[in-house]
Symmetry: C2
Subunit: 430 residues, 2 copies
């Protein structure tokens, strides 16, 4: 049975995502009403530039006073697609205080202040949903939070930033350097004018914090996530990767330690085997592997950004939140009961690919191998290439802690025969 | 805040899946309680053979009287993992009548009687969840029903039967014939003693009916699904597929017609390009592509069967249903409001790969081409191979309706110069 009084939706932000949300709310109004059990009505749209023409949005709904809009008191759901920390945070908090539930696509805010926002939602008996904050249209938050609620997640490993994947894919397929590939990404609109948030891994780190928090039922703050960008990945690194049957991806990795008592979260470039399904994720697509006790390995793949895909995720949340309101219920809130320790990067255990420039004389390999052994880092393979008194040494290790590897590299730098450490890259996905 | 009175769960069936459900309920009791907000208690286990030892299940909980168990009146959730139509259907209906919600893994029953069961759940204000019925551990029902609730799904295309994928993968990688590959699947436990339900596509058809119903908000009955098994796929078909840069998979395909007013659902073997992500799904794994207006292309991948993966899906549903009970709410029920026409197979539009044995004399190709043209089927490529007065002709068409193709083939068979139609296979995934 259909309720006739519509649920009122306030839209904060009307850029690439917001305008798409408004468009779908209009064009799919009948479908949305049927799926929710009541019609929904766009009650107001808060924007920064009111003069701009916005197709399909009645001008009388447009306001620059977002605060007044969320304070109206008759708003059922606030959709926040402004991004950034402020004013988004204050607006969301105010929305809860005035009885609205919130759907947000704001990864930076959720990663930084998720706990406080969830608390505010809980205090007022309202929902906070944010599927769109991680990996665009790909259902990931809901599967982790609900489908796997009866399972134990051990690892989340994925490509969660389309811009960097586009750049790395370009470097891999054309042999281009980082700057050249970035320029192409910028020209095609895949990278922003200031690409820092993407290429330095800030965006992926925010998503890693959100995913780790949900996967491990533990509060994981942005500061807990180790972060390394991909601006120093070179064509030479890709050549080394290919020699190992690998490619290079910027990965977000959230892991439960083998003993189960602690977790880690990190973002960095890494080599992964070409046979790994993540290796074939092309262009700006995203893909996330989830490994759990009972389900085993699951993969979720799709467009990680863009107006329409992000709007799809926002609208899925909007339908759920509206249904909850009609039911007088709320969906799952923050689940941080496990409160596991978030360990520092030094505790992470993985494999490493290290390129050294060394003197081309007898005994160097023995010296280098001794340093690895002294730090408890076991060597899998070594490849030596000599030329004109200089040589390069490529070492691939077995699994070792990041702290041991760091100690090894510091000691290697002190060897007279080691001229330099050309690159260190982690090897994942095995 | 944790409620202390436990929610009571009755388990119907204690085979491969049921025993795993019981095990996880015990080993992960504290986690499940934290995630639900109340402890859950295994209140009874209905089995056929009570004498069998069941590790971890207190003997006093075991009963052969499933009906009495669901009628007890104090059961909050019934988990049905018996399979088949009866007694599962009666037990589920009785469970609703006595106030329980139901989690089921029963694809055959859901495909055949989903509408009636949903109606019974609705009438009594209870939940009916069945993530485990399709593609084992892979979250698929929930993403379609909830994550994409604000989007318009146009196509669901996937590998939803692990047994047949194992057999086809084996044929592809080793050149084995169907019987040899089936024997290996049976020996390894991937195929049952009577493999009919898998190899004839009945299992996949049931899943297609369920997926189509949810994706298109339309009731799709098992009888509405066109079904063709994979027992007649030959090593020669794989050779033909490779010539086209394709492999062969048994696909479940649910599509909205281009005009949007009707849908189709079908299961059959098909050639797909090696570059398509579904082509690289190996062994008994499942993977499903979902294409929608706003989200674009999404893929979900994982283990499609097995005790633990299926139990993961069952437990995810169990947590959701228990949470709903605590909230006094219910989750999304059947959504069939769109009530689109389910069109017959003749209306399906796709491409075809046809191998003909023909007389090796001038004019045959012209004759054959004329028949295609007369039926409005446009030819993409023709390959002709002659030998000793006999020749084979391989025709790949552009997109045409199944009815047109059937008419074409009937007319081809009547040509004197056509000795036989060696194989007809659809070409998908482009």
């Amino acid at each position: 049975m259909m309720r006739t009084r519509p649920l009122k939706v306030a839209l904060l932000g009307c850029g690439v995502v917001g305008s798409e949300v408004a468009r779908i709310m209009t064009t799919h109004a009948a479908d949305l009403a049927a799926r929710i059990g009541a019609p929904i009505e766009l009650a107001g749209v808060a924007v920064r530039r009111p003069g701009k023409a916005r197709e399909g949005i009645p001008p009388e709904l447009v306001t620059t006073d977002a605060t007044a809009l969320v304070k109206r008191g008759d708003i059922d759901v606030v959709v926040e697609v402004i991004g950034g920390i402020e004013p988004a945070r204050s607006l969301i908090t105010t929305a809860f205080e005035h009885g609205a539930s919130v759907v947000s696509a704001n990864k930076a805010l959720l990663a930084q202040d998720g706990a406080a926002l969830h608390a505010a939602a809980g205090e007022h008996g309202r929902d906070l949903y944010y599927e769109a904050a991680v990996a665009g249209a790909i259902p990931l938050i809901r599967p982790l939070r609900e489908s796997l609620a009866g399972d134990k997640v051990n690892r989340v490993l994925g490509i969660v930033n389309g811009t960097t994947n586009f750049i790395l894919d370009k470097m891999d397929s054309t042999g281009a350097g980082y700057q050249e590939a970035l320029d192409e990404a910028t020209a095609l609109g895949y990278a922003e004018a200031d690409p820092t948030a993407d290429v330095e891994g800030f965006d992926a780190a925010a998503k890693a914090a959100i995913l780790a928090g949900i996967a491990f039922h533990t509060r994981v703050r942005l500061d807990d996530v180790y972060r390394e960008g991909m601006t120093e990945v070179t064509a030479a690194d890709f050549a080394s990767a290919r020699n190992m049957g690998c490619t290079i991806k910027l990965l977000a990795i959230c892991e439960r330690a083998a003993d189960g008592g602690s977790v880690t979260a990190r973002v960095h470039p890494a080599m992964i085997p070409l046979t790994h399904p993540l290796a074939s994720v092309r262009g700006a697509y995203n893909a996330v592997f989830v490994e759990s006790d009972a389900a085993g390995q699951l993969m979720f793949y799709g467009p990680g950004a863009g107006g329409a895909p992000t709007a799809s995720a926002v609208l899925g949340d909007l339908v759920a939140v509206c249904r909850n309101r009609l039911n007088g219920a709320t969906g799952p809130g923050e689940s941080a009961y496990a409160a596991l320790t978030v360990s520092p990067m030094g505790d992470v255990v993985t494999r490493y690919h290290i390129s050294l420039d060394v003197a081309d004389k007898p005994g160097v390999l023995a010296q280098v191998a001794t340093v690895f052994a002294e730090h408890g880092v076991s060597i899998d393979t070594v490849r030596q290439k000599g030329k004109d008194g200089e040589a390069s040494l490529v070492v691939v290790t077995h699994r070792a802690s990041d702290a041991s590897l760091t100690g090894t590299v510091e000691a290697l730098r002190k060897l007279d025969t080691v001229r330099g450490v050309a690159s260190i890259m982690r090897v994942e996905g095995e």
